[in-house]
Structures are given as C-alpha cells and as structure tokens.
Subunit: 578 residues, 2 copies
Amino acid sequence: MILLSSSGLWAFSTLIGASGVWALWPIPASLETGTSALTLPSSFTVDVAVPNAPWDLVQAVAQTQSYLENDKLGRLVVGRGANDSNAIQNGTPLSGLKLTLAEGSQVSSISSEAVKPLGNRSEEYTLIIPQDGSQATLTANSTLGLYRGLTTFTQLWYYYDGVIYTLLSPIKIVDKPAYSYRGFALDTARNYFPVPDLTRTLDAMSWVKLNMFHWHITDSQSFPLQVSLYPELADNGAYSPKEVYSESDVQYIVSYAAARGIDVLLEIDTPGHTAVIGTSYPDYVACLDASPWATYANEPPAGQLRFAVPEVVNFAASLLSSIAQNLVSKYFSTGGDELNTNCYVNDTVTQQQLNHTGMTLNAALNTFTQATHGALIAQGKTPVVWEEMVLNWNLTLSNETIVMVWISSADAAAVVEKGFRIVQAPSDYFYLVSSLHPVLSVTTTLNQQDCGAGAWLGNDSAGNSWCDPFKTWSESYTFDPLANLTEAQYPLVLGGEQLLWTEQSGPQNLDPIVWPRAASSAEIFWSARQPSGAPLNVSEALPRLQDIRYRMVQRGVNAIQLQPQWCALRPHACDLDA
Amino acid sequence: MILLSSSGLWAFSTLIGASGVWALWPIPASLETGTSALTLPSSFTVDVAVPNAPWDLVQAVAQTQSYLENDKLGRLVVGRGANDSNAIQNGTPLSGLKLTLAEGSQVSSISSEAVKPLGNRSEEYTLIIPQDGSQATLTANSTLGLYRGLTTFTQLWYYYDGVIYTLLSPIKIVDKPAYSYRGFALDTARNYFPVPDLTRTLDAMSWVKLNMFHWHITDSQSFPLQVSLYPELADNGAYSPKEVYSESDVQYIVSYAAARGIDVLLEIDTPGHTAVIGTSYPDYVACLDASPWATYANEPPAGQLRFAVPEVVNFAASLLSSIAQNLVSKYFSTGGDELNTNCYVNDTVTQQQLNHTGMTLNAALNTFTQATHGALIAQGKTPVVWEEMVLNWNLTLSNETIVMVWISSADAAAVVEKGFRIVQAPSDYFYLVSSLHPVLSVTTTLNQQDCGAGAWLGNDSAGNSWCDPFKTWSESYTFDPLANLTEAQYPLVLGGEQLLWTEQSGPQNLDPIVWPRAASSAEIFWSARQPSGAPLNVSEALPRLQDIRYRMVQRGVNAIQLQPQWCALRPHACDLDA
C-alpha cells in the first residue's frame, strides 16, 4: 500500500504480505523462503530422533517449545500482525519438527561439543520446513548443531490473536558459522553481577549464537572469585561476603553456558590490574594504592603484581593453575594489558630484585609469563593474552597463545604478523562502554577508546569530558575482521567479541547496555556476509535487529529501544535517506 | 587510618568516624551536624501533631516509616558500617519525630499545596534532631514543607547488623528551595512507558525534591493520550490499544504526583511534532509522512499541523482546552519547538490559505497561538512554550507565558530580555539523551545537542556519528542557571529541568538512564549553593550523589552505577587528582 499525502508527495510504501526475513539474527549462510503461511498448532511436537539423546538436548527442546509458546511476538509492522489475519486463517498447521544427526555423527552432549577446541566444534545445521504442513526436519552433525538450528527455528514465529505463525514457508536453511570464536566479555570486578544476571546474559548470548563468554572476573577493584587454595583473596577482596562467586557458582555458570553451546573463557588479569591482591598480600603488590594514582595506573586504585619477585611468580602460577584446573574450558586468559612501568621504576623491591638478578623488567615479565603460561599449558590449557604482551613486550609465548586485539583495530595486523591467532576486540568498534580515562601522563594509545558515558572519575566535570562517542550497533556492525590482513593471514582470525567494562555499569543497566548492541558482532562472526554474498549492510540489518530486540524483551531481557517504536513498526521509514 | 604501602608511598586516608553529610541530596540550605550516634528503635514513632491531618500527609508518614525500615543502606565505606559497630552500640535511641505546622499555617493537603502557582508553594521546613534521644521535631509552614522534611529525614539513616543509625546528631536543618520550578521531563510519545514506570519515576523525583513532572505526552510518532472528545486520536495514534494513557491513568498520575509534592505539566506539542494527528485528520496535517523526511522535519515522520487553516486552529484550541480542563495544574505546555517551514512552503493548502487571507506564515502562527493560548488562559491556565515561540517567531504572547530554554544555555538571556519567565532546559547540559539528528539540510542550531547514544536513524552508521558526548552528572551539575543574566533578571528564572527524550529509550533502561543523573538539577535548583555559601562543587557532591544512588537502588529504582563500587566505598579515592 502506498500512501499519498494530501500534499501530493509519495510516502513510504509497505508491501502487503512481505514479511521478509526480519526475524533471523544472525542471518544464516544460506536461506530460501517462500510466502506461504504456516501455523503452530498445540499438537505441534518435536521428535528427537537421536539415540540416547543427551540431557542438554532434551532441555534445549523443552526450552525451544517454551519460547515458541511464550514469545508471543507481534510482527513488527503497523497493527502487529492484524493484517496477517487472512493469511493466518488460510495457513497450514505444521505437524512437527524432527531432529536427527547425520549418519556417522557422534552422539555427545551439547555441553561437551561446546567446550571442544575452537576449530573442532560442529555448529552447522540444515533446517527444512515444508509448506504443506508435513514434518519439518532439522539435521546436524552434532547436538550443538541441532541446538543452533533450534535457536533459528524459534526466531521464525510470530503471534497474533492466539495463533503462532510464519509467512515464510517453505523454508530451507543451511547454516554454519564463519568464525569459531564469537564472544561477549563481561567485567565482574569493577562492579559485581549476581549469578542470575550472568545466566540471563548467557541466555541472550545463545539466542544470537554467541559461543564464548569471556569472564573478566577479577581486577584491581575487587576479587569476587572464591579460590579454595587462597580463600583470603575473596575474603579481603570481594566487595562484600554476598558479592562473591563461589566455586559452585562458577561451575554452575560453566555448566549453564555449555548447555547453551557457550564456552567460558575465564580471565585473571595479570600482572597489572591486581591492586586488590594487595588486600591479602601487600608485599606482592607494587605501588599499592599509590597516589596520585594517575602516575601509576590507568585508573584507580594503583597496584600491580611484583612479577620480578620469585615468590610472586610462584604465587601467580599457583593461583592461576588452581583456578584453571577446575575449569573444563581449553582456554584461560592471563590478561596482561596496560602494565604501568612507572609503578616498577619507583618500586624499591622490584628494583632490588632486578639488580640482584641482573634482569631487565622485560626479562622478568618473560619469566613470570613463562611460569604462569607454563602451568596452564601443563594442564592442557591454551593461554589467552591481551595484545600488549605481544606488541609492547618481548616475550616468549607459546605459538598456541591466542591474542586479543583491543587497543585499535589496526593492531590486528601487527599481532598476526607475529604468527599468533587473534580474537578481535577492538575498542574503537566493540567496546560497549569505556573502561578508562586517558590519563595524559601515561603513555597509552587510549585516545580512541570507546566511551559514551563520560568520565567517571570524581572532580572531573564538564568540558573536559574526553570520551569518544558511544559506539552504536551500526558502528560496531561495520567492523571488518579481516581489514589490513593478507588472505594467508585470514585463518589466524578466530573471531571476535564485544565487551562491557563495568566502571559505570551494574545489574541495573546490564541488559539495556549490552542488548541488542552485542548482537552486532554475533552476526559479523557467524554470518560475515549476507546469504547473497553481499557484505553486511546496516540498512538491511536494522529491521532484523529490531526483531531480535523485541523478541529479547519478550523473553525477559531488557534490551534497549533502538528507535521510536514508530520506526520499528515501519522498516526503513526512519532511515537517514527515507 | 593512613595506609602505607611497602613502597613507601602514602595511600589515601580515611578518617574514623567522619561520616560527613554524604547522604543528603539536595544539600539543605543550612545544616548543622554533630558526631553522636543515634539509633532508630522499633519503638520510634512519628507524631503527626497536625489537626485534621490530610490523608496525603498520613500516607507520607507511613511511607517515611517504610523507607526507614526498609532502606537498609549500608554506609558507603569499606565494611559498609562494620567499623561503626562501637558507635552504634553506644548510640542513643531516638524516641520519635514530631511534625507540627507553624502557628498561623493553613492545614491543607500536600496535594493542594503542590499545585499552587509556582511562587506560592511553601516547601520550607526545619528539622531538629537532638543527640540525647529526645523527640526530634519537624516544623513547616505547610504539609508540603513537612513532606520535604520527611524526605530529608529518611536520608539520614544507615543500617548495619540489624540497627538503623546515624552518626551525625545533633542535627539542625533549616531548608528551603532556591528555585520554585525543579523538574524532570519525560517523552512518552517516541516510546511508551506504562503507568508503573511513571509512578516509580515520580517516587524517585520526590526523593530529591523535584516538584515538576513535565509530561511530553504526544509527538509525531504516537498519541497515547485518550481524549474523550477525540477518541480517534489515541485509537489511531497510539502504538497499540494497551499503549495508551486513559483519562483515569492521567488523573491517577496527577494525584500520585501531587501527594508527593509534584505538579504535572502536560505538554501537547503544537503545531510541529504532530504528524500522528494525521492518522485521524490527514487534512489537518501538512507534509504528512513526506519523503525525504529530512526536508520537512528534524526526525521522521514528517507532519505538522496546518495552523493557517481556521478549522485546524479551532481543532487545536478545542483539543488542548478539553485536555487542560481536566487537569488541576495551573500550567499547560503547547510546545512550539522545531517548526519546519519547508513543510508549509510546499503545502498547497497552507499557501492557498495564506494567499486568501493575505497573512504571512508568522501571522498565521500568531493567530493559531492566540487561539490555543487564549483557550487555556480562559481556563485559568498559564501557557508554557519552547523558546522558538519567542526567539524565532514574532508572536503576541501573554506576559505570563513561561518559556522553556532548550537549544543552548546561551538563549536564556535572549528570552529573558523580552521579559518572560524561563525554565532552564538546556540541551548542552540537561538533555539526558539526544532527541534529534542534526539533519544538515535543515537550518537549526542543534549541533550542540546532548547525545551520547549515537545516531538512531537507519542506514547511518559509523564514523558519521555526530553526537556530542553523553552529559555526565557532573557536566549537568556545573550548569549555572543565572549565567549571562543581570541581577535584575534573576527572578525571571523559575528553575529548570533535565529531560529524557525517548527515541532510544524505553521502560527497559528508564531508571538507569535517568538516575541518578537527573538528581544534578535537583540540587542546582533546590540548593543552588553549598550550606557554607560556596558554589556547588563536583568533588564535594559525588559522595553524596553516590549515597542517593545506592539508596535509590535499595528503594527499587535501578539507578546506574556511577563508578566501580570500590570508588563508591572510598570517597575521593577515585578523583582525577587523587
């Protein structure tokens, strides 16, 4: 229907019946749809034709059915589906969905598949939904693949006046991810997030097929992780006795995640970002609570591990390995970002140690890193580090080490040049909020830090607000994971993640600040391109992102409004050039 | 206790027992405190020594007691009050609080006092809390003043290990607001907010003594307000049948607000911002849904009332007065911002009308405005408009008209020059989120628009994000309401408000995006200065803002984290220069 206004100007047009594929996020690798209506009757069943179906697959099917029944999402058009009534009434009831594994597939749990080494996880699936109401089929090579397919299946259905329906049949989807690492990083140290916030975040991640939860669990401000070998760390370092993660909490999170196809990458950032350890071991920490903090740290409080001291080396290696040994993940991050050298220049203990051994600071860091990484590798873990460990220091790192590129998207090439696999976490695209204040006296390249929430330090008001603009979903969405790389280097890009540093966030704003923005990277790293092969396009994407945003809200995740609802109901009517 | 780190550097110091006055926001006009501990025993009673105490005062007392019992806010220091144990154990139980009105005071309800003309409301109070446990006294000249005092009283108390206490007695507070208009504006048209979101917002407003709820209830995108004389407006213009405000909803909000000392200023923005009226009266609207919208509007959809047409003039006057007649407030806003003249230049109907009457567009706007304002004035209402009605057009407005200055803080002087009373709503300080995209082809002065959430239009990604940084609480806090004005003009500044435009907000992020930032203006316009007479200071203020932020969370308002909790527990430790 094309609306003519009285002034004679053409208004935007809406095509009757064209529901498009707005619900799918991330967009599948290959997608064929029709225009026939199907409904989901109460008799719709899911047939799990998988022998000895693992418990987490059974749970996933139940959760799928729950989403199908409860999403009750009205299609994002004016009238929310009222105009679909005719189509719905003439729609064909879909009898059921049958899940099968391809011949020769191993029947193992979603949870076990999810924590395999990154290249080994099978996430592909084929979903076929005929238009005649006969049983739809979902096939995959693993239960994890089936899980991904179920996730897609739930995104197809709308609700109007008691009927669950789609207007898109017949549907054929053949799908698989472009990248194996598709993450979301959360900092639970600057501010604490109770376990239900984490499980809800994992749910939302699973809806957009994110598969790596990068848990930045400790930092200078707090140490909420209970470690049985070192109970004092949380006793002294957590914000309060309630604001902790017990070992059971961690196991629960890991288990909850794995059942949703998500691997948990725990990070204990070292040797910087460790002031809080000084509340238990003041001797282990240089420049502890030093003032002015800006001389010794990127943000208060100052304090970094005395990594030149053998006892500290042993402590760190013991701490990290005692944590890692309880984790099923193959990956463990030791962090390594933003090491402030002033801190050590002025530290008598460190200087004495370096003089005594004749080592440079760099050599001492190398010894420290070899110890911590060595301990992790001995446990079968692959270490993960921030880019400075490769770009700012001369360290001997295992070839297997995965490097997170964050300072700017340009650094990816520099790291890849050295032969390391990388995860793209660029602050200029993927930081949901800034973590840092660009302390002018510290030599950093933080000027391009994502921000958008203004300075959080005290006594630092107006005018001086330095932060770059908030990174909208569409700015993140334009990120090119392969920029500046040669084709031969492409395989070294494992994927990427968006990150929430929580100096200015907490449970109160977790959902709206993360969602749906963090879905941008979900599509960049699953889909990478449109099904046609065309590059991802913000104009094409927005209606689909709106859909997943509204569906998230239906499912209890408080995703933020991206636009006036008027715009959400009229795809493209609020485009810049509409 | 002063901490010495091993490196010999001085760490920050904490003074035992110095709890300061961090809890009070806005800071009272005059404040004397001591260092003696008082506790609130279960036998604590509030004696309402007011004859025929109005129902809303009785409710306020009950709500006060509820806050006292349930806030359970641990003092914002390391240990959350554990170090106060000794003081608490030696604390004196406070027997009660007596409320009285000064002799000669009229006993009327909070609700009736709250909606008096702005200069006539009595909000002052005196609160005296002796250190010996004898009855505290709260006196005022009105029940509204008592309400303000009760609000302050609830901010004094902390909780540790089962005991409610303060460390500040004896306390003497003599308090009154510097400005009569202290507001918060919410746009419920770009996105809809259910009534509970509004009542919760009113509660939070009351906790910081905000007294004007500026309800921007309709706009181009939706018309959620049910008007009995024009039911089609909401029938066709609301986002859905559920996303409406019935007349009862409005009355409930007005009543709920008034009982909390808040007057509701409703705004029906005209003649711009009215595209949605075209869904019922297409003939009344020029450039309805015109494309490209950017030629005809600041944001989509385009559409503005044909104010040159007599039938439209009558309609608007009738609409506004039919709404206003049901409202107790003395104030009603007709809006009048961002009128796009292209819209009328190209509108045949408008041009024909102007030719027919020989009027200019300006003259027609004058006729329109005289009609709408005339109708409101006839009902005893004072019209409120946006600054363009005074600065961009040559209109005959009543001297009583209140003008909201928003484009930039510099325009205040220009408006005041013309003799109008103003409300400060500057986008460069007080916009919590941007409302607009700086459409380059439209001549506006919006470049300094507060933003921070990036562009919300579609097809408008990265790099082009034009928005200025997000306005932090401290940037807002540095606003000077009297800048560029002569002392003789000061009385024309009624006060100010912070504003949430909701193109990119909804119920999901309402609390964290508004609070505690909107408390900045609450202090600017209640306190204006520190009790000492010194100007407001962001360094001094932050610990108190943190306190009210944490208290808001205890009371069920999801105020955002301003800093890492580590900083909240160590006032000034995270200052820029700490």
